[in-house]
Symmetry: D2
Subunit: 508 residues, 4 copies
């Protein structure tokens, strides 16, 4: 059955078909591995087939990529910016169909699907500007006739391993910056979102080809752990950007470090919202809803823990349970749906196991807690009253489950916020300047993202995205994240004929 | 026999005695472990005794430090700068005796000993200025009535593990920055330089006490692997700065990463100098001498590999061998000495083994290669003609051994420079702008330090110090190194009453 | 006679006609002044008619602009960036016809005309990135519970007065940055290039309209000194960016300063090239040609003074005279033409007077010196041997006249370079690092642009463009030039309940 | 009568005597002008005599300074930092006596006198750090084999003209930065505070001499308008930093601009405090008191306008009048005094005239309004109820006079705040985040200093100090103020052998 028959008329627009080749190697679409089926999370039916690459394909790809790196790194940065600008334009032209594909294959609702593609476009625009601002420094030397420079040069190749929940935005964060910084990109998308990987790669590939540049500058693989491990071990790849669980991330880091490579890790989050007694409750409730059930709880920035001041605890919970009941669960492509399916059957299994554990540790499930009976992977958004000491609260359960707890003082709430291994995102709702500035100060939230009166999720690209502790410490997108994609050298040039030494040392 | 009898009259000036307590814990000098003897590398005779701390002492120290961290991090940064300024003044007042102590206990020549102390003083001055410049950012938000901030807050505690070759300067690089950034410092000095650890700590302690601050802000231990491991494992220490060999560094990193901590690594170097055909040979030879035999070849930035253009190969080597012969080996405290002893007997053993390996792989030892017969740990500065493919060339032999090799083109020389696992320092001697800018550019040296017409060693504090690949990737001292000692948060504050979402997403 | 009849078929594409309205006010094309004729410098024949605005039109425009400013400054900066992105796309779509128009109306050769439009496009791309990077700072406060911020807010309205020689690129430098910074722009183009002003404004206006933004955000006037003076005097315009002669610039500055406004001045240049004895002469000669005769010597960065080392003086001059003879003068739209006409008849008059003065002061005119007999404003590229002390050498003669002088040492050449009132651009040709770094160092060139082995002209947008001394001190385009388009506030927020004072003062 | 007899025993400590020479020229104390008497504002009795310099002395001084500039600018910046560090140490050693002198000669209370000297010391510490951070940039070039640099070089000489109210701190802001930036400093202190000028200069001079540097690096003049005008006109001084009234400042600017020099202006302020209905009134009242009567109202940041929300108007005013009554007026050197004398008899005259004008325009003088009958220049701190439209409210009356006005909304208060020509400092008292962020945002205060819950005065050195509009636009002390003391060059180095042009232009 062809894609058109399933209402997939937009497939052709973005270069997809019923059968697709799952790797772009040395400027060619070529894959010699087994075939895999991309399933729709809404009904677990096949969308299309993808042939995955073998390790031989990988090797061929990396060899070409390594050669291409020598060319790409000497292209002036603003010229690299121009290529990224064209990639942005290509994506902009396909915003709608790509957004649809994300919704279809990943399962998030259409506005989020489109928002995700928009995020890569934003990243492209941002990276174009950056391509003239990858600035080194001239630092005053203490020695006469010496000039001290801090230069930034490309790394060569950047490996990007992305997860199913942001099947293309995370590629965008990494690849746009990596490319203007002068690096070739090796991308392995999530094994369950191969069509998105292919569709995005096609657009990039066309731009490279149109500009007579080696396609190997952008080398792309569908596939699973085997390819991932190959990337981790590959000494040709000085930097591996990995998005996924803390557990897998630590393993990747260990492998990469052993070969003296660097990692940029975006791992698990376990994000809390604190609602103070003076909060705008309406704003808070709307934010919690978006933070806890958006993307069906499958964002790394999803709010999983809610701390409510005891004086408004009942009020907030009542309102929250009320809005949870009104949330429309269903086909993510349908207008009005707020909660789509979990991504895969195993996500559902995971949810089921999580609920079992919760039941043995929690006080009360206020709403939800069940799987929705259907062909797809739908589960109910769930609110759980629990003690902060319950073991499940320390872990990331990747679904729409919210733990609710009470507190009395700001200090207590901050301690609770900081009491989990993860350190990605966090948010407070308050109208007191003192609370706001304490929250963002030295003894406040220990997370990489520290919000006030907005949800834990929904970051802008201009800031640096990422978290501390078990979240891995990486920073992507804006601010000076680009520095991670380059190598820094401190250069001192003596242009005189004497040899004065630093610290006034006299040698010989 | 008292220290005065050995001509150690300056001991009292810096708070040392025949017997010393080897840890400063919770503002007290206290150690319950076994006693160790500090030996002079010049004659392997005892300088003084030091009682080392036990793990219980460590635990007590860390508990106090952890409490002190809560106070110190809320002291305004410029006030912290004032404390560091006073530390600088205290060191300045003791520059001479401290420099002597470094020379005596570590074995480097006096001008280098004084230079090392001067480096901490410079770092203090630098850090004072920095205490008003630990700037966060305000980043334009795409959402109305939102303000996006990038804030930098203290980490809490920074562990600093230093090596014998820079027994106090490396502490200075780390501690000055860590302190103004609002962190307490836990220092473990090298096991064989306990007196330097104690003397420096005493000065810091006095400043803290004078200012009625908890002494535990600076917690200091003499000791070996046991304390080092305790630091690596300690979840109260989010950042461990480690200086030492690649091998040990990787182990430390693994332990620290497993507990979600971060490392700042300054590991092995294997640094090369390239002499182009158009070089100022006189300048080059003088530089090679300083780089290869300075500190008896025990700097991480010591030049270990020399690449000379074939057209001037003989000339450079002749001159080099000539100056090597004139180098005065002897008591590092004596005026005129250029090469002091290796640090310990086991360093000499290591040198001996190295020479054996070299003999089986090299073409010719041009000069040196032997141990100097004496009470102390003296060895001969050594020049070896060898093939770049010889396995020994890929390793760091921590002594004054220089491998010399020939090349024909700049491209070839750069490939040779980059062909070892380590990536710390590198230097070229040339007068051609094209060569200079290629050398510091994307296809040039892959090291963290990339010099032109100066030696591989002798860095200024204003730049970032550190190296790539097996050297560990850390950066200390100047530039934006301070960011590693703080945690970054991206904060978005909504001060309006609406909830616009990033990427223009419309949710619900 | 319609524009088509003159081969001006591209006119329609860019919204021009035989008769055009010369001001865009409050979102409308409206002008009540007299009619002026745009002439082609190639033949002094009419291209089209333009109705100029009156002072009443100006007043209406500014009132609307002032209102629009209140809206535009509260649009989030990244959203403003999106508008500038669309402006860039609109220009990109009309690159060819706009480039042609620049060539036709200004007189520069077509590749330069297209290059000028490309420069605005580049500026748009750059400004889009910048719209997420107009960063303020968080500066550590010395007082507990205080936060110190440096914020950047829009100025309101920026006046941009541009000159004929870059009839649209200079608008681009200013407007792209001013707009993302949150300012409305009031543009007065050169009186003799009204069609370019109109065509560019049309594209901007369409973008504003398409986005339902007030057209008054971009307010545009053709016209002369009357409108210019109105802008200079207008207290609603906190910043006036003026490009033109030093004489007029100083007057503008005086008027603006008196009302406490600020100026951004890009005034006269008198730019030198130094050719050292070790220079790549072929490269130097090609560069001098481009720098001295490009744009018929009507760039502010045109090379007007050439200092050649005595040892190669004859050689360089011989080659230069040779290439001057081969330069094709003619219709700037014709392929192969290198030198188009001067812009107006009065430019020719000015050239004639200049040559008269030169003849009385110079030693010898090596080539050129005459007006080309034609309908258009063509003159001969001219090389003059002269003493550095000749008064004409201190002045900017706005045409293709190059003064050539000899020197013996670098020091002498630098003194000569710095010996004129102007300080815009300068260039040296050498292969000695020592000379390069001296040239860019404290005792080197005193200009805002200091080049090595490239011409004085042809700046990239990523750097800051502008010059010192009589050139006015302004900086436009890249680096931190954007700060001039915003106002800076140092904000200290006390979020505690105490009142500690800076410098530890105790009051009361 | 000797200084000892008047209790001026501390005079000797800081190098002063009964008769003093009022200029330090070419490293020598030498003045050939007339003698002037320094008077104590507390009793108008002579403190000591000072011989002022002539214009011939000025010329000699400047010639030497101009020569010294050539040396000083090539001293590496960190070495210049070391000199400034020593200056800081010299001042620190004399903090007490210098503070006393400031109190004695200027008339401010002793804690403020000491605070002022502390501010220079802080600036020295800050500048030392800065001396390794005067960073240029390396900007990515769009052309292959090109490197684009932004370099910062010294200006040469910086002229600093300071006012009586901060007779040495303002010198500190300018000189510390100017010196590390590589400039010589020419200082003209206020004509009525010559002893402070001399005492500070002596300390600086000693440091220069001790380091074998030309004394002319710091050239210092007591004196009045004649010397001031000489500085303004002097083409050897590219930058003149002027602190004083708007009227004189505009004149200085005009003179400096005409000769293509630059000005850094710190002119009149007319600073407002807004007290919102939700303010911490106790904190506000204490702050207003410090802001309005501190330094007897003679700070440029003195609060002169107070806007109180109508709902708390009476309450705030009652409390304010109450504390005003308790303020102790008297000898500034005496413990407990809060308000010292005005600086001179003519200040008192000015106050008297101001009060007359006020009486004809104001509703009511709530407290104060009279001159205190005494030998000294004491006046009463004064509170005036007035309409915001009264002409006196738009002007700076340099004394302790506070205009009080009512408002209803934040918008109204901001309009009032912004409705005067001056734009230096401003402050709001509120606890609403929305009000805080509006206040510091695009439509908030238009001042250079925008405070929240602290007074208008009492800036920290880490931020940039200065104001907009009639206040002159200069920024001194922290942030990137140092850039004003250097000249910026955009350098492009071509190290290849091709000549690619920017914007892809193809020429010839």
């Amino acid at each position: 059955m062809g894609s058109e028959d399933k209402g997939l008329g937009f497939f052709k627009e973005i270069g997809l078909a019923s059968n697709n080749i799952g790797s772009y190697i040395n400027g060619q679409w070529k894959a010699n591995g087994s075939s895999t089926t991309s399933l729709s999370p809404s009904n677990n039916q096949a969308i299309a087939q993808v042939t995955e690459p073998t390790l031989q394909d990988y090797e061929e790809g990396l060899n070409a990529c390594n050669e291409a790196a020598k060319i790409w790194m000497t292209v002036p940065a603003p010229k690299r910016g121009e290529i990224v600008r064209q990639i942005g334009e290509a994506l902009r032209a396909k915003l709608e169909p790509l957004g649809k594909l994300v919704s279809l294959e990943m399962g998030k609702i259409l506005p989020e699907g489109i928002g995700e593609v928009q995020e890569i476009i934003d990243m492209c625009d941002y990276a174009v500007g950056l391509s003239r601002q990858l600035n080194g420094q001239i630092i005053p030397s203490e020695r006469p006739d010496h000039m001290m420079l801090e230069t930034w040069n490309p790394l060569g190749i950047v490996g990007v391993i992305t997860a199913f929940n942001f099947p293309c935005a995370v590629l965008g964060w990494n690849a746009c910056i990596a490319l203007v910084c002068g690096n070739c990109v090796v991308w392995k998308g999530a094994p369950t979102t191969p069509l998105i990987t292919i569709a995005v790669t096609k657009l990039v590939a066309e731009v490279l080809e149109k500009n007579n540049l080696p396609g190997a500058i952008f080398t792309s693989f569908c596939g699973g752990a085997e390819i991932g491990q190959a990337i981790a071990k590959d000494t040709r790849i000085p930097l591996v950007s990995f998005t996924g669980s803390t557990k897998v991330g630590l393993t990747v880091q260990k492998i990469v470090n052993e070969r003296f490579g660097k990692c940029l890790l975006e791992l698990s989050g376990n994000n809390a919202i604190i609602v103070m007694d003076d909060a705008d409750i309406k704003l808070a409730v709307r934010s919690i809803l978006f933070a806890a059930v958006g993307t069906a709880g499958q964002r790394c920035t999803t709010c999983r823990r809610l701390f409510v001041h005891e004086s408004i605890y009942k009020d907030v919970l009542d309102q929250l349970v009320e809005v949870y009941k009104q949330v429309k669960i269903g086909d993510p492509l349908e207008k009005g749906t707020l909660v789509g399916p979990l991504h895969t059957r195993s996500s559902v299994e995971n949810f089921k196991n999580g609920i079992s554990a919760i039941k043995s540790q929690a006080w009360k499930i206020l709403t939800g807690g069940s799987i929705v009976d259907s062909e797809g992977n739908f589960v109910q958004p769930t609110i759980v009253e629990i003690s902060p000491d319950a073991p499940v609260v320390k872990e990331e359960l990747f679904g729409p489950v919210l733990y609710v707890m009470k507190f009395q003082t700001l200090e207590e709430a901050i301690i609770l916020n900081n009491s989990v291994p993860q350190g990605l995102s966090s948010s407070i709702f308050t109208r007191r300047p003192e609370a706001i500035f304490k929250w963002i100060g030295p003894r406040g939230s220990d997370c990489g993202i520290v919000n006030v009166n907005i949800p834990t999720n929904g970051a802008e690209i201009g800031g640096a995205f990422g978290g501390e502790k078990a979240t891995g410490g990486g920073r992507e997108a804006g601010s000076d994240s680009w520095k991670q994609y380059m190598r820094r050298s401190t250069c001192t040039i003596n242009y005189g004929s004497e040899l004065p030494l630093a610290q006034g040392i006299n040698f010989g």
